[in-house]
């Protein structure tokens, strides 16, 4: 067997520079809910498990895990791993990381882990987590939580100035708002990883600037490309464009307490009047996929319920039946959040106009839009949901329980509420069944319009090898090489 150090030294060379759209705000994996930060921090920290691009949960720092009962999870840990500061990774690290996020309520992720009752180590390489109620989505959440060394406890602020994880790259520096610099971890536990010596992540929020940097050869990969930038990028020599259906469903949710849309016939009529094909083909240039269930394919619970039909005739009929004429709907948008959202909203307004419904588009600053939503001042709200983590429990719990939806959509359905609670158990077969049932109900009731699944578009330099266009918007460079 070739000694790992030798094999790696032979393989590793070069520097990759990535241009990401979202600035990092923290180096603490427990203190953010940003897809982009999760992606960057994944290079420095390892979580207990990872999720692959084909939706499988695979071992990282945990070699295996299983539920002992509905409220207990057991994790068996990988041996022979050390942190960048040389200290060994053991069960103490897991206990510390989990208890810290649960107990420090200032941490952004804290509220998710409140269901953890206790974390006990069982020797140095096994941990048992007991929960107050079934927590089937715990493994999914753990893919986003990098493990910290217990030494961080003695001085967190100092620790996060130069954090040590077990990840494929060591942290070198962070210039706030500008870039993060990482260097290869030469003693990483996975052979052949990483494949480059250095990674620099630059933050370039403006898409045309980001694309210009790639086209000028200054950087090697960019994320969050919008459909109208694709032609330009494809036409640039040395640049490749990659796309994949994302784990994200656009959702326009109704304000269910409003007289205008309370009646399910109304909502059905709106749904029938919208030509989703036109939106996908003409406005998004094909960079979207038709929806067949509220949960995108790849997540537990996804089931095929067929596409929603486009039938303006039936829409008019339903509106007449419901006795609604001269209807005006307030359609609230969060400014510049989603590609082509204004054009799409305008198209929808035209489509609804054809069946006699007037649409009032309100394109507001994000903060204002959210306030209006809390206050209930909308009929339809333009939003999306990128599943983070890779589990629909959060989506259902937030939007389809009475407590969760109270200041949002005002949704309330006891059957759905019951199914959500039942879907929390660890057994995937049970979860699949419960979630599929929830989706059938939602598909029928139409509390939301799901116009399309998004497509994630990346552009890379052709010098890169083995880059994977991920469905969860992560840009992961551990196994990417550069010519």
């Amino acid at each position: 067997m070739v000694r790992p150090g030798v094999a790696r030294a032979q393989g590793r060379r070069g520097e990759i520079i990535a241009g990401l759209s979202e600035r990092m705000l923290t180096l603490d994996p427990a203190n953010h809910y940003s897809i982009s930060a999760t992606s960057v921090l994944r290079h420095v920290y390892d979580p207990l498990l990872d999720v692959t691009n084909d939706d499988k949960f695979v071992p990282a720092l945990a070699e295996s895990w299983r539920p002992l009962n509905t409220t207990t999870w057991r994790f068996t840990l990988r041996k022979g791993v050390s942190f960048h500061d040389g200290s060994p990774f053991t069960a103490d690290s897991v206990v510390f990381t989990l208890k810290r996020v649960r107990d420090n309520s200032k941490l952004i992720k804290s509220f998710v882990y409140q269901d953890i009752e206790d974390v006990q180590k069982d020797g140095d390489y096994a941990v048992t987590v007991t929960t107050k109620r079934p927590f089937g989505s715990l493994p999914a959440h753990l893919t986003m939580l990098g493990m910290l060394p217990p030494s961080a406890a003695s001085g967190e602020e100092a620790f996060f100035q130069k954090p040590a994880g077990t990840g494929p790259f060591r942290f070198v520096s962070w210039t706030h708002g500008d870039r993060v610099e990482l260097a290869a971890n030469t003693r990483y536990w996975k052979p052949g990883v990483p494949r480059v010596e250095k990674v620099t992540v630059r933050f370039i929020p403006e898409l045309s600037t980001r694309a210009a940097a790639l086209r000028a050869g200054e950087i090697h990969v960019i994320d969050r490309v919008w459909p109208d930038m694709v032609q330009t990028l494809k036409g640039t020599p040395g640049v490749k464009v990659l796309d994949t259906p994302a784990l994200e469903a656009q959702r326009w949710h109704f304000q269910l307490a409003r007289e205008t849309v309370k009646d399910p016939r109304m909502r059905k009529a709106v749904s029938l009047a919208i030509n989703r094909d036109v939106i996908i083909k003409d406005l998004l240039l094909g960079y979207a996929r038709p929806v067949v269930s509220p949960i995108p394919p790849g997540l537990i619970g996804h089931t095929n319920l067929g596409q929603k039909p486009y039938d303006p005739q039936k829409a008019r009929q339903l509106l007449k039946e419901a006795g609604q004429s001269n209807l005006t709907l307030d359609f609230v948008l969060m400014k510049d959040l989603y590609p082509k959202q204004l054009e799409i909203a305008q198209a929808v307004a035209a489509m609804l106009g054809e069946v006699g419904v007037k649409v009032n588009i309100r394109n507001l600053e994000i903060a204002t839009a959210r306030e209006q939503r809390t206050a209930g001042n909308y009929d339809l709200f333009y939003s999306g949901w990128a599943h983070m983590p890779h589990d629909p429990d959060w989506y259902f719990g937030q939007w389809f329980t009475k407590a969760g939806a109270e200041k949002l959509t005002r949704f309330s359905d006891p059957r759905v509420e019951q199914l959500i609670a039942e879907g929390r158990v660890p057994d995937p077969k049970v979860r699949q069944q419960k979630y599929a049932e929830i989706e059938r109900i939602l598909w029928d009731e139409e509390p939301e319009i799901w116009p399309y699944y998004s497509v994630a578009i990346y552009a890379i330099s052709d010098k890169l090898s083995n880059f994977e266009a991920r469905r969860d918007y992560y840009v992961l460079l551990h196994e990417v090489g550069i010519a």
Binding site: L25, T26, N31, Y33, S105, K106, I108, S110, F111, T175, H176, G177, D178, R179, R202, I204, S208, T209, A212, A213, R215, A216, G217, E218, E365, I366, A367, T368, R370, E371, S383, W385, M388, W394, Y395, G397, Q398, W399, A403, G404, E406, K407
Partner: protein
């Protein structure tokens, strides 16, 4: 003299108080719940409330104003909600780049603007003058966000003479300062060109002065 000083000091204090109140009110009135903006969309209301309490935003408004004033007195700029870091640090981090860019842009403005202006004035009515005018008008009309992107595309992407973004040396300052200077150059040009022609005595140039010496109008 003393009453004058006291009066001015009093006015200054009043102005400062007014400004502090205005700043405070504007910050509170801007829509948006900081906790809601920091937490992900799906966070429960209890988490939002908890974070708001942490940020001190649940106190009565006059208590918040008091805290605000005390922080001002101590030079404590507080925490930036958006960057989740001490606000002073956020400002200080951006200061070097801002200062260098502003300086470079101003230098360009003065050098280029005044040169074109003087040239246009001295060669009034010639091609230089008209060119100067055209440049001035262009500079003022072209929106700088458009100009910036065009310069990036031309000099960064197509020609690859200059970097497209970032700040790692003097070459990174060129495109941004040209973009910033464009609008202001026009003003310097115009004012430099507006210096009236050196007034000339209708008939008798000063004896002994070299030809072309400006002569005061009588």
């Amino acid at each position: 003299m003393r009453s004058y000083l006291l009066r001015r000091l009093g006015q200054a204090a009043l102005t400062l108080a007014g400004v502090s109140l205005l700043v405070f009110v504007i910050l509170r009135v801007i829509p948006g719940d900081p906790a809601k903006m920091l937490l992900p969309e799906g966070a429960p209301q209890s988490a939002v409330d908890a974070l708001n309490r942490e940020l001190g935003l649940r106190e009565p408004i006059w208590v918040q104003y008091g805290i605000f004033l005390r922080s001002v007195a101590r030079g404590d700029f507080g925490q930036s909600f958006q960057y989740r870091a001490p606000a002073l640090r956020v400002v200080v981090e951006r200061a070097p780049a801002t200062i260098q860019l502003a300086f470079a842009a101003m230098l360009l403005t003065v050098l280029v603007g005044v040169s074109i202006g003087v040239l246009a004035a001295v060669r009034r009515g010639t091609g230089y003058d008209y060119a100067g005018t055209v440049l001035a008008v262009l500079g003022q009309s072209l929106p700088n966000f458009w100009l910036g992107i065009m310069l990036i595309l031309l000099f960064g992407v197509t020609l690859r003479w200059l970097p497209t973004s970032g700040f790692q040396g003097w070459s990174y300052l060129v495109l941004p300062s040209v973009t910033l200077a464009a609008a202001v150059v026009s003003m310097n040009t115009t004012s430099a060109a507006a210096i009236p022609n050196p007034p000339v005595i209708p008939n008798h140039p000063q004896k002994g002065s070299p030809p072309g010496t400006p002569v005061p109008k009588s």
